[in-house]
Symmetry: C2
Subunit: 383 residues, 2 copies
Amino acid sequence: MDTDRHPTEHQHVVFDDGLALECGVTLKRLVVAYRTYGRLNAERSNAVLICHALTGDQYVAETHPVTGKPGWWDMVVGPGRPIDTDRLFVVCANVLGGCMGTTGPRSPRDDNGGSPWGTDFPPVTIRDMVHAQKRLICHLGIKRLFAVVGGSMGGMQALDWAAAYPESVFAAVPIATAAYHSAQNIAFHEVGRQAIFADPDWQGGRYWETDKIPARGLAVARMAAHITYLSEQALTRKFGRRLRGQPGDRSGLSLFGDIFEVESYLQHQGSTFVRRFDANSYLTITRAMDFFDLAAEYGGDLSKAFAGTSTRFCLVSFSSDWLFPTAESRTIARALNRAAANVSFVEIPSDKGHDAFLLDEPDFHRTLAGFLAGCAEHAGLPS
Amino acid sequence: MDTDRHPTEHQHVVFDDGLALECGVTLKRLVVAYRTYGRLNAERSNAVLICHALTGDQYVAETHPVTGKPGWWDMVVGPGRPIDTDRLFVVCANVLGGCMGTTGPRSPRDDNGGSPWGTDFPPVTIRDMVHAQKRLICHLGIKRLFAVVGGSMGGMQALDWAAAYPESVFAAVPIATAAYHSAQNIAFHEVGRQAIFADPDWQGGRYWETDKIPARGLAVARMAAHITYLSEQALTRKFGRRLRGQPGDRSGLSLFGDIFEVESYLQHQGSTFVRRFDANSYLTITRAMDFFDLAAEYGGDLSKAFAGTSTRFCLVSFSSDWLFPTAESRTIARALNRAAANVSFVEIPSDKGHDAFLLDEPDFHRTLAGFLAGCAEHAGLPS
């Protein structure tokens, strides 16, 4: 095990003993790229693991090294923020299968001369991601996490952490998530994958051999997904039917180009995404989400995933989220209640859709801060 | 004007005086392909115009000449059916811009040597489609339609008929529709268009010059759209998380192929669609839907579109339709009420999503039959 010798610019740790995956394959070498914020206290009791979503990464609360944009959860993580780095030590790792430094399809394969894994990268699961994070957490000398927090796919990881390592998770905050991926969500992912497969520049996944990337296919995938992250209300509020050209000018009618503002917005989402994300990682991680079905791992009874747990849970959903609707959080809450777990469940009224967890939602931020403050008291964290 | 001399197999009428379009272009020659069912009575008072949806066509109640499948509304149209061809004379025309015989991007352009219009086909609107249908209806010697009936984009046409030709529409049945296309719906259409544009076989729209069609791009467009036609409940009921392979067999985890049943279903929807539909028609017709905003044509007040109308309206929505949700029908109902129109409005409880109007929904069929029976009495149609 060695730190920071991998030729990437991302801070990382290398585990030379590798990682056994659920599919049966063992990665001979595991790299986990991560970032930390705040200071680990002497008792090592104030660590919060943040789990990122499908297209997120470890740059939670600082300028992103590729895009130059603020961290994706700058509003939530920082001094005096709901996850207060004056008190808490925050860790976020790029997920297994990702493209920001952690082992994934872009990494050199470890069973031959070192060309990228590409589409030969083994299929990974949410549990595999959690196992990789656990290695990092042990490496950092942390036995018990004060909290595991994540939205969307990050919420799946938070749930899975609580199920896999109950004694290592004092509190868990699964946000805008579900205990399984629904048929509709699998279907949307499949559209994205087919768009990537359809792009000849994907080249069967071996695009690193040329100087082309499947930019158009990946952009279409992102556009389709992006709609599911918003809500009809948010799109109507932001764009409605506003035209880019002159209103009422019929001569501007055209098959092509972006006529409505919502179209240029979507196209922008697609084109900026491909600059920072790897298509094969997108395939790998969407599959990991599709495979996720926590109850199925426990004989079909979700409450068994949490039997005897002493973890404190706070479930958060957003009223206009149709990708991971409130009903999915309610299902988790019921299972936790059946397991006699300590659980609170809040639906935040919002018209911003699934992405609300990333946006300025004061009610959500107050909920998160309040829950963590209560847990800190119970955990005896020095304030 | 001449009938049945166009070298296509579809029954049609040719209007050599062309059609002036809303964009300012005049088509010098207009072909309208259509089918009829039942017999026009001596008074010519029993005609029902059925308007088809985005990917529908005129083969409403008979075997489809391309797919060999039953007509798309066989359950609704026929002897003894809700739209009873023992009593009523049913007409359905392929829409302007379509690919089943009516003038569209696949037709020879009329301003030069006769190569297909392709993407030079002028942008058309729902109103243009209605104008083309009106020509057909006049050609058939019908002054007043007993009813105009349509779902989804067909419902937009039914609304537009009632607005454009109130004296020619005794009854209108707009089903699962809206008076404008929402930002979210435009966004989904844009994803489909971008998927087509991204397919190199689209060749800038000039794919007729090769023996290739943009099959993969069009299939992705269809897959994305198809999800919006269903509902989360319907997808869960039909497919859930069922795997194609052995359940619990982790070795089957793979990035590729169709692992979940919902994926093979979607892929099938995509691949069968491209055999019957033209990509440039898809671009043209999705644009026509996006342009639709009936209130905007009447100074932003939808009720003015129906001022003084004597048309009897029956609005139908389906509870799980999230593409054209019940709220959109309610908006239309309110506008009709403000116009003191005769309107009934029924939300059919269904978990089948937008496509419910095409499926076995006995409540819907009873509603439709009952409304038409009542209208027949008011119209003095012989029973």
